[in-house]
Structures are given as C-alpha cells and as structure tokens.
C-alpha cells in the first residue's frame, strides 16, 4: 500500500485516521502513532494561537521522500502523515504520523524516524501569538540532534 500524505488547513480527527489506517489489513499487528499538538506554553510566553506557514510543493515532496526512506529502511504495511497549516488553537492536533506494520519494533522506529526528519527537513514555520505580540518560533538544536541519530544508525531494523 502506498503511504499517504496530506497537508491541509482543516482540523482532523486522529482517532478516525488511526481506525482507517489498518482497516481491512489483517496483516497489521502493530499500529504506532505520534500526534503533535499546539502547546499553550511557548518558549517565552503563553500562546493563544499558532499559525503555520509552509512551502507548497516542496512540503509534499520532502514528506514523500521521508516516507519513502522509512519504507526502504523498515518493513511497513502503511504510513499516513497529516500536517496542518494555517491558524490553530492550543490543544489542537498539528501533525499525525501513523505507521502500520506487522510487528511493533519496526513500527515504533519508523514513526520516530518520520517525525524526527519531518521536524528538521519539511518546510514548515510556526508563528506564535502571545500577549507580547507575534513571534516566529526558532528552530531547536535538540530537534537536529534527534534527527541526526538516524544518519549514524544506517542498519536495517526489523521487528
């Protein structure tokens, strides 16, 4: 099955997406997901609204490449990546990465790989609204370190 990627302004229901992911495939023994949500505590001040800008075209291209890399590295049954753009409120889901595999080890690893790479390679930019005004979120060194792990661990992982 092909991986599916959606970049959309509309809110999504993570539970419904997970239900749909493995439906009809009895070979799926493990379903692992990451849901990123808008946090109300920003780096410097409380956040009342988050706006996500992206680079249409490149975003889909990068996400597609990341999913292909995951599928080449682990045996997966299906992958879904959904990322919202535009304005959203604290508590709302921003991103869903869901991986269906036969066994859990590959599904866990692939899910973490995809979100780590997404955070450092996919062209999205967050802007926070705070009581002190709007500000662009700065990239975090920890995200680059998390993504860098996968560069040094090139071994094929099966679960």
């Amino acid at each position: 099955m092909a991986g599916r990627i959606r970049v959309q302004a509309e809110a999504f229901d993570p539970g419904a997406e997970l239900d749909a992911l493995a439906r009809g495939d009895a070979g799926v023994g493990a379903l692992v997901s990451f849901i990123g949500r808008v946090r109300e505590d920003g780096a410097h001040a409380p956040v009342s609204r988050l706006t996500l800008e992206h680079y249409p075209g490149m975003t889909e291209k990068v996400l597609g490449a990341i999913v292909e890399q995951a599928r080449a590295r682990w045996e997966l049954r299906d992958v879904v990546v959904i990322h919202r753009v535009g304005a959203m409120e604290p508590g709302e889901p921003i991103v869903l990465v869901a991986v269906a595999g036969a066994h859990r080890a590959a599904a866990f690893a692939a899910c973490e790989f995809i979100i780590d790479r997404l955070k450092t390679r996919a062209p999205f930019w967050k802007r926070e609204r705070t009581p002190q005004g709007d500000r662009w979120v700065e990239a975090r060194a920890g995200d680059a370190q998390a993504a860098g792990r996968w560069d040094h661990d090139a071994g094929r992982h099966r679960g």
Binding site: K119, T120, P123, W136, V137, A139
Partner: protein, 84 residues
C-alpha cells in the same frame, strides 16, 4: 527568468513572498544570487547576510551555496524549519 520565493521571517524582512526576475548577468550559483540580492538595500543585506541562518532550496531541494543556477529555476530562501 527565475522565480525567487521567500518564507516566514525572511518574507517579512524583505517585504515580498515571490518575484520573477531575469537571471542577473554573471550569476550562476546560489551564493552569487544571494550576493546580488543583498545589494538591494539594508533590509535585504540584513535578512540574507548570514547573521542568522538562512536555507536555500533550488527547485524544491535544499542546495549548498555552490549549487548551480540556470534559467527557469525556482529558488527559495527560508529560515530553519519549525514544523511538527
């Protein structure tokens, strides 16, 4: 013609999100285009001058400063990404 895009903080700093221009004479690399754009004024120099990290994509793939440019390319300038 080339198409040049600016995103997020850089879009705000230079005051435009997108423009088309003739590939300037002698400009054959990302670094040369960046140098050309920086001569447009203080806000361009500040935004693209490297005091804060700037990434460049050519035809939607991240490119090094030595990356070659040709007529018809789409070049994008943007800050480090913060999605997820």
């Amino acid at each position: 013609m080339i198409r040049v895009l600016y995103f997020a903080r850089l879009r705000e700093a230079v005051g435009t999100g997108e423009e088309s221009l003739a590939l300037p004479a002698g400009v054959r690399s990302v670094a040369a285009l960046t140098a050309h754009l920086r001569t447009r004024g203080p806000q361009w120099d500040e935004a693209l001058g490297g005091r804060r990290p700037v990434l460049v994509a050519v035809n939607q793939t991240v490119a090094a400063p030595v990356g070659a440019l040709a007529d018809g390319d789409e070049i994008a300038y943007f800050p480090p990404v913060t999605g997820g």
